[in-house]
């Protein structure tokens, strides 16, 4: 479960994230939507523990991220929008490094698991090549492998489908659904409203650092008094907010 309590981040006089409150149950695929510069990536970076909030709390599966960051990070997988990979390592070496950082020892069981993940994301045949020779989509798939290697309870993803071909997109969606069924909580920030509509059980729309709408697709339709797609609802809500 993810709990954000009055989560805030200010840069001088600008409130990038303004007292966000969210509670996301286990097994939920939660879509975090918003226009450019709304505060999505800042929220995600704070949840991943790579940026300090200026106020509020982040509780991941009952662990306060600020009080016990190491324990909280152990149960989280993080896929940033612009991931860094050690380009001069091979895919295999990179995954071994990440698993070591999660405290997983170099057993044959781990090797099998890495191979299984590489097969799942269809990049096993490239495992011994340097990452610098990978395409953008392959790098994206490798970073997904690294985020799932320790079976996290929570997966935080910033723009999951960037650089993926349709086949890989379908594959990723299937994996995400399966993981949610197994009890994993997925927090996904995306610009793609189609992805959100297809994948997420619940969504929240952030605008100028504040949550302006939240619920299932039906909840949002009722709130917006509109019977259209998520895109129609999103545009109507943002327009109303801008007029206010």
């Amino acid at each position: 479960m993810i709990e954000l309590v009055n989560l805030s981040k200010s840069y001088r006089n600008i409130k990038a994230v303004d007292k966000i409150n969210l509670r996301i149950e286990d097994g939920t695929i939660f879509g975090f939507l918003g226009p450019n510069g709304a505060g999505k990536t800042t929220t995600i970076k704070m949840m991943a523990g790579v940026m300090n909030p200026t106020g509020g709390r982040i509780i991941l599966d009952g662990i306060d991220l600020m009080n016990d960051p190491v324990s909280a990070k152990k149960i989280v997988g993080y896929i940033p929008d612009r991931p860094f990979l050690y380009e001069r390592l091979t895919g295999w070496e990179f995954l071994k490094l990440i698993s070591a950082l999660y405290g997983m020892n170099g057993s044959t069981e781990l090797d099998k698991k890495i191979l299984r993940l590489l097969n799942l994301f269809e990049i096993a045949e490239w495992k011994d090549e340097l990452i610098e020779s990978y395409s953008h989509g392959m790098k994206q798939r490798l970073i997904m492998c690294s985020a799932l290697i320790h079976d996290p309870k929570i997966l935080i993803v910033d723009e999951p489908m960037v650089g993926l071909d349709p086949k890989a997109m379908r594959l990723v969606k299937e994996i995400f659904r399966k993981k949610a069924q197994e009890g994993m909580t997925l927090f996904i920030s995306t610009h793609s409203l189609e992805v959100a509509q297809e994948l997420c059980n619940e969504v929240a729309i952030i605008h100028k650092g504040r949550i302006v709408a939240r619920g299932t697709l039906d909840d949002l339709k009722r709130g917006a008094r509109l019977d259209g797609t998520l895109e129609d609802i999103f545009l109507k809500i943002i327009e109303e907010e801008m007029n206010d």
Binding site: Y11, R12, K45, A48, G49, V50, M51, N52, P69, V70, S71, A72, K73, K74, V76, Y78, P80, P83, F84, L85, Y86, E87, R88, L89, T90, E93, L97, I98, A100, L101, Y102, G103, L130, E132
Partner: protein
Amino acid sequence: MEDLLILISPRILALKNRVNRIEKRFKIVYVVIGGIILWVGISYACIKVLFYFKSIEVIGDLLNYRLLSMILLTFFSLLIISNIITSLSNLYISRDLELLHSMPVSSDKIYVAKAFYTLLDSSWMIAVFGIPVLIAFGWVYKTGALYYFHMLHCIFAFVIISANMGIMVTMILTNLFPAQRTKDILMLLTVIMIASLYLLFRLLRPERLVDPDSFFSIIHYMGALKKTDSPYLPTFWITSILWSLLTNKKGSPFIFNTLMLWSTALALTVINIWLSRWIYFKGYSKAHEAKRRIITGSFINNIIKKLLSPFMSQDLVLMIDKEIRTFFRDNTQWSQLLLLLALIVVYLYNFKVLPLEKAYIRIDILQNEIAFLNLGLSGFVVSAIATRFIYPSISSEGEAFWIIRSSPFSMHRFIWCKYLIYLPFMLILGGILIISTNIILNVSKTLMYSTSITLFFITFSIVAIALRIGAQYPNFRYENIAQISTGIGGLTFMIISVAFITLIMAIEAGPVYILFISEFKDMSISILKWIYIILSFSFVLFLTFFITYRSLKIAILRLERLET
């Protein structure tokens, strides 16, 4: 401990992969041979100087002691500055930090791993230049193995102390300054510090220590030589330890200084780890908030655009405009102009204080000899600056290079654009260097014209060679632009450039000498000698044009064939 080893492992693995996959392995052999030659060269030069000082009666050993102290103090200052810059990059800017901070590893462990690499990255200078100097001391004073053992552990403690001090400054500054401007202010502070230190060192005129005449009496002079550094400085402890071994006078100060050195090194390490728990992640988080720029470059740009527009097509003008704009908006780039200014001031000052009147040969001949050698030195300075600014200029396009590649803007125009931006700047710089030093030296007209004109033409080629090597070794995925010039391409450029300057000087030496002597002695020159002079200068002219043309041509071809 296990986490630390894991955090350190990516660079080791990357190095292993790099070595394993190098196609042209002979390049490694070149670097190793070059390193050995450099080591032997430095050691040899130091041994010569130290033997010379040692042979001076009464004050010989004092001079060497003072020299050791000054060398260590210089290294100490440079190491601290180097650590400030490197720790800023490793601890706060490095692109892998987001990945590492999202892992279940405490921030103090990330700090230790990154501090370890900061120490390594900053201290290579000691390995390259410091160790051969200290070996030379051991050689001259005929010490035993014990000296070399103590030398190594003292250097180790020395680099630990300087690394910790530099890192501490960075950690505190990153937390003190407003978040958005941390990087800018740190970079500026560092540059100002380097420039001040360099100027201070030059204005202290250490060369006076080898010149007793500049003191009122021999007692004053001896007093100046015996004056030691502050006993609180680590350099004082190391100087004392090494000197007692060199002169075979071990005693209680030796043990005390060794204990002081190592206890400081360990205490600073512990203090920094403790400090990192409090402020490191806070500073990292602040440093990654939005950034503001200090200098816009708009004023300079508008003038340049107006000046160039009547003579150039719009695309070329706009590319030049973009180049200047990005240069002045990158604080790590423009701030180095301050360093350049300090370098020019020190260079000219060095000529001003040359004790030529104390030389045993005629002053006018010596002045002109120095002026000719100055051609090589100025060429070297121009090359060094080209390594820093022009050689990385192609890589500096970064991952946005695809915009140029995919546009109808040809590589031919791209290279010309770069050439036209940097050439005037380098011509002005070279001109200031050579003309000012010639005026200071009061050289003959022959030397004034021949050296100035030669440097003018050499500069055309140096800029072209820098672009050619830059196109041969492009790195669009750099982590830090400053690292590009320290790679194999930068070294290759320097070697080629210095070889080119030496060749030009070798061709011109004879004709310039004939011209100078004829002017000096008011003698006429025979027709045969005139033919020799004209042929030599024509060959120099041809060579510079040929090298310039070929270099630019190859640079264009390299970029056209480049697969990114």
